[in-house]
């Protein structure tokens, strides 16, 4: 704790508009903010956890049908998107570091590239969805998944009803993830305008740090979605 008196603290407060009066120092304020963000991310883990749990139960029950359905998705697009998100995570840590060390150009550049990579991810996702719509693999009245062989079981064909379950989980999980990406893009657009106005300093860059935590979390969700949805049983 600082040795200054209460009156001294009030004086200090006037000089540091970014330090709220109930925090002793900027470091404590940043720690409190990131702790709060981690508590929110814990709720997000449970939010996605329910879907992962449903996925695991049905994958165990209908493994062959899930493998056949998984094989119809373009794994190269999925792998490319994984690489795109990993690169965006790098630009996010660079942005946080730039804010910490007051490097304006690097901060603005990293935030801009992060948004570009986020848009690239959504674009590739859009191509993937378009393919699924054209192949009638979207659950609903026009769903069709007939005579698709089960990998590793010659002469056996996937049950379209079970394949439809896979595609329901696929669209809900990747759709929810894409929604998080869109929200993340909004957050980063806001961070970019704040950085443009010069609002972030080595003492106050909490929004960059918090927004970064969110972006990394969305990356981690995708790190699990990629092998679970795209790579169930690929080998010939």
């Amino acid at each position: 704790m600082p040795d200054s008196t209460v009156i001294g603290l009030h004086h200090e407060e006037e000089h540091r508009p970014d330090l709220l009066h109930h925090f002793a120092e900027p470091q404590q304020q940043r720690d409190a903010a990131s702790l709060g963000m981690w508590v929110f991310l814990a709720t997000e883990i449970m939010f996605f956890g329910g879907l992962f749990c449903a996925y695991l139960v049905y994958r165990r029950w209908y493994f062959g049908d899930f493998a056949a359905a998984s094989k119809s998705i373009d794994a190269t697009l999925g792998a490319t998107n994984t690489a795109v998100l990993i690169c965006s995570s790098l630009t996010v840590v660079l942005a946080v570091w730039a804010a910490q060390t007051a490097r304006r150009t690097l901060l603005l550049g990293s935030l801009a590239i992060t948004m570009l990579l986020g848009l690239t991810f959504l674009g590739i996702k859009g191509i993937e969805y378009k393919d699924k719509f054209e192949e009638h693999h979207v659950p609903g009245a026009s769903f069709s998944f007939n005579n698709v062989p089960i990998p590793g079981h010659p002469g056996q064909y996937a049950d379209p009803r079970h394949a439809q379950l896979f595609f329901s989980l696929y669209f809900v999980m990747t759709g929810l993830h894409a929604l998080h990406m869109i929200i993340g893009l909004g957050i980063f657009l806001w961070l970019f305008t704040m950085a443009w106005k010069g609002r972030f300093t080595p003492d106050y860059h909490t929004p960059v740090e918090i927004g970064g935590l969110y972006w990394h979390f969305v990356d981690i969700v995708w790190i699990y979605l990629f092998p679970l949805l795209y790579l169930i049983d690929r080998h010939p």
């Binding site: 883990i45 956890g49 995570s89 910490q100 990394h216």
Partner: protein, 102 residues
């Protein structure tokens, strides 16, 4: 480790670390992708999920700064969240995996 040395520490070494983690994550992604096309039987899923967990751990520890977090409570929140996730997945799967009628 060294909390007060953060400002001088932040000059060069974190960048090297960030780029090494980035390379490691890309290499892991490539291995996952390639391994999926090799016949490994039961181990295909184990390899895929093992590498995914390694990647997620790298992102959380080094990109999300859990490893060097100055606030100890952050680690508690992360561990608590993982504990409840494993409780959810573990108890559900032990139930479904041990039902002889399904």
């Amino acid at each position: 480790m060294s909390e007060p040395a953060k400002s001088e520490h932040a000059q060069s070494s974190p960048l090297k670390m960030y780029f090494s983690i980035w390379i490691a994550l890309l290499v892991c992604t490539y291995i996952t992708y390639k391994a999926a096309f090799i016949e490994l039987g039961q181990f295909n899923a184990a390899v895929a999920l093992g590498i995914a967990t390694l990647k997620a751990t790298l992102v959380a520890l080094f990109f999300m700064h859990v490893w060097h977090a100055s606030e100890k409570l952050t680690k508690l929140v992360v561990i608590a969240a993982l504990f409840f996730l494993l409780l959810l997945l573990g108890l559900t799967m032990t139930d479904y995996a041990t039902r002889p009628w399904s």
